[in-house]
């Protein structure tokens, strides 16, 4: 009997451990690719590490004091929050308008949806290069068109003036992000009950009232999720801003993500970049928390 018990206990232990063993490669990848860099980055932010001077030591909060006392850092935070805030609102409004339009039945609706969606699949660097040409102050199509139709009577330097540069970045972000909103909202609109719409029509509700009291409540959760996802994604964008303006002029379009890149790979000050990255991570954690709360809400 004892023999039988010991055999059963051994098999049970192996059987219990086997699933964890199968998870080992995944856990190893998680630790190596995600957890270690994250912890290493946080630890690095408390050191003086620089690629130019590999010998480094612990400096505590010095990097954080340095960046928090830098006007450039706070300007970057304002740029990031400001640009993203405006862009997400515009993406939502324009995305919803176009989704409502593309939800109606008309000829070539499928082709129109495909054209809109094709913008989303373009690589970000290609998008940035495309807009670089469009926005060129000397040869760009935008200046030419606006002058031809009489909106402007001069060629504007879209990337060389702070205000115009922010508008340019915002324009590209909105253009690129709208398809995502359209796809998600279109999907949500399929869940709007046609019976409710018909009932509202019978009750005399106008189109605006039907949208406000029937459609919007149904799709509101998807809208909020889209906005949060878009914000999280925009917080991480480096490529478009890097190619279009490099964060200029005079840091007018510098974002937190680009600031991390510039400190790390232009200044080679990895510890300072890590410190900026930690503050950037705080913003992202806040957004991610809101997002998780939203998707797990009843």
């Amino acid at each position: 009997m004892l023999e039988r018990m010991s055999v059963t206990a051994g098999q049970s232990f192996r059987e219990k451990m086997f699933p964890y063993l199968l998870l080992t490669p995944t856990i190893a990848i998680f630790i190596v690719v995600l957890l270690y860099p994250l912890v290493n980055g946080i630890v690095l932010s408390f050191t003086s590490y620089s690629l130019l001077r590999p010998n480094y030591n612990w400096v505590g909060l010095q990097n954080f004091r340095s960046i928090f006392s830098s006007p450039r850092y706070w300007g970057t935070v304002v740029n990031t929050v400001g640009i993203i805030g405006v862009v997400v609102v515009l993406q939502t409004l324009l995305g919803m308008s176009m989704a409502l339009l593309l939800n109606r039945k008309f000829r070539l609706r499928g082709a129109a949806r495909s054209v809109v969606f094709s913008i989303w699949v373009l690589p970000p660097v290609v998008v940035a290069q495309l807009w670089l040409i469009i926005l060129n102050s000397q040869f760009g199509v935008l200046n030419f068109l606006l002058n031809e139709i009489g909106v402007l009577n001069e060629f504007l330097p879209w990337r060389a003036r702070p205000g115009l540069a922010r508008i340019s970045i915002g324009l590209v972000f909105v253009w690129r992000g709208i398809p995502f909103f359209i796809v998600m909202i279109l999907a949500a609109l399929q869940g709007v009950s046609s019976n409710l719409i018909d009932a509202a029509k019978i009750d005399g509700a106008t189109a605006v009232q039907r949208f406000r009291f029937v459609v919007l409540p149904t799709i509101s959760r998807i809208l909020v999720l889209c906005m949060l996802l878009s914000m999280i994604r925009l917080f991480q964008v480096v490529d478009v801003v890097f190619v279009l303006t490099g964060g200029g002029p005079v840091n007018a379009t510098n974002t937190l993500a680009l600031e991390v890149y510039r400190r790390a790979f232009e200044g080679f000050q990895f510890a300072e970049a890590a410190a900026v990255g930690v503050t950037w991570m705080v913003f992202l954690i806040l957004l991610a928390t809101l997002y998780v709360r939203q998707i797990t809400r009843e």
Partner: protein, 423 residues
């Protein structure tokens, strides 16, 4: 079945752990030298480079050269990362600003053991100095790149300036103004304004032309605020009075505008000959579109300019430094190769003995750069954070262009130089 699965999982885990550490074994056959370069980024220069490498391999059958193409803008970053990871290619194409931090971190090999002093004495001091540290030489010039003034002949003649580049800064400014007055959309000078270290570097001649300094003889920051203010005030004037395009963000844009006859003067190097021929599509006929002259002198009569030299270095990670040095010698000191590189890319070699060839000696265009090379400065300071300081200078230029007070901006630049470049 579970046992097989168990063994498979352990095998996968072990493979992942050890796969990254595997290194290629040495085999018999040609020795491979890795050469990091940016010439392959363009078709013309890439073809020229491949021809030169093919000739080297013909003369050295036991050596194979593997090109590692890295765009110019990424060179400093990639070189530093590779050097930190101790797997940098054998030979690196750099410029002095990129090379400086590599020298500082001990990532390059002393070349004096591979080159005789007699050879090195043939190279202009300004070009050689950028690679020297405490008597050791870490980079060898490959292509001299002193910056001079290119003038569009058509615009100069229409403005009544003639065919000579103005000799001093006041005449130069006057010429810029006269060209700008010719037509709308025509500018006297093409000024770079992108936020980059290169923009800051190319602003140094303007500060020198106004009698100012950025560094002392030891390379320590010594920003002459008064002269810098003057240079920045002139920069703002150029923008406000329409003497320069409002936003010449990219170098390519400036070159295109110059070739089209919309910019009177640009600062450029010897490569401009090939570029104008390409951009205009006129080939050698395009040589008549412009004249070249040395940098105008400052009020006290001193001529100074920067140099965008291309240099070559051997990485400390090279397993065959002597073969790497042989490649460098071939590329820099071989007459046939130097002549070929000049004919295809207007590249000016550093060695005096090679420059005495009639191909170079009888070419007035070349002689302007040879003269400028005598006093050009390829490296403003050996400090490893020089790039950041020059980016701060570029930012100050943008600030002034946008209406910032030159005095306040110059003071800020001075503080930034002190902060970044004083250990």
């Amino acid at each position: 079945m579970k046992k097989i699965l168990f063994v498979f999982v352990v095998f996968c885990g072990a493979t992942m752990l050890f796969a990254g550490g595997a290194s290629e074994p040495e085999t018999d056959g040609p020795i491979t030298i890795r050469f990091q370069e940016w010439l392959s980024s363009s078709e013309t220069s890439g073809n020229a480079l491949r021809h030169m490498i093919a000739r080297f391999e013909e003369e050295n059958p036991g050596i194979r050269v593997e090109l590692v193409s890295v765009p110019f803008d990424d060179t400093q970053q990639q070189s530093l990362l590779a050097a930190s990871a101790r797997n940098a290619p054998d030979v690196l194409q750099l410029n002095p600003t990129f090379a400086s931090p590599l020298i500082d971190m001990g990532a390059l090999v002393d070349l004096t053991e591979f080159f005789e002093q007699g050879q090195l004495d043939q190279i202009p001091a300004g070009a050689l100095d950028s690679g020297l540290r405490s008597g050791q030489l870490f980079t060898l010039p490959w292509q001299l790149g002193p910056i001079t003034v290119f003038g569009n002949v058509g615009l100069m003649e229409r403005a009544g300036i003639g065919r000579e580049i103005p000799d001093n800064v006041e005449d130069f400014k006057d010429a810029i103004r006269r060209i700008s007055e010719l037509d709308q959309g025509v500018y006297g000078f093409g000024l770079r304004s992108a936020l980059s270290a290169n923009t800051g570097f190319w602003f140094a001649p303007w500060i020198w032309m106004h009698g100012g300094e950025l560094f002392d003889d030891d390379g320590s920051p010594a920003v002459d605020a008064a002269a810098t203010v003057e240079a920045l005030e002139w920069l703002r004037e150029m923008q406000e009075d329409g003497l320069a395009p409002v936003a010449m963000e990219s170098i390519a844009e400036g070159r295109a505008l110059f070739t089209q006859g919309r910019i009177g003067f640009v600062f450029e190097g010897p490569w401009m000959r090939g570029l104008v021929r390409d951009i205009s599509g006129l080939g050698e006929e395009a040589d008549s579109l412009y004249v070249v002259g040395e940098m105008p002198a400052s009020p006290d009569g001193i001529r100074r300019t920067i140099a965008n030299d291309h240099v070559l270095a051997v990485s400390r990670d090279s397993r065959h430094p002597e073969l790497a040095a042989r490649l460098i010698e071939f590329l820099t000191a071989n007459q046939e190769i130097a002549n070929f590189y000049f004919e295809t890319m207007a590249s000016i070699p550093p060695f005096e003995s090679i420059l005495s060839d009639p191909l170079f000696a009888d070419d007035d265009y070349v002689q302007v750069f040879v003269s400028s090379a005598e006093y050009s400065q390829a490296l403003l300071s050996p400090h490893p954070r020089l790039s950041e300081a020059l980016t701060a200078l570029a930012s100050s230029m943008q600030d002034v262009i946008l209406g910032g007070d030159p005095r306040a901006v110059a003071t800020d630049v001075s503080s930034e130089f002190e902060r970044l470049l004083t250990d």
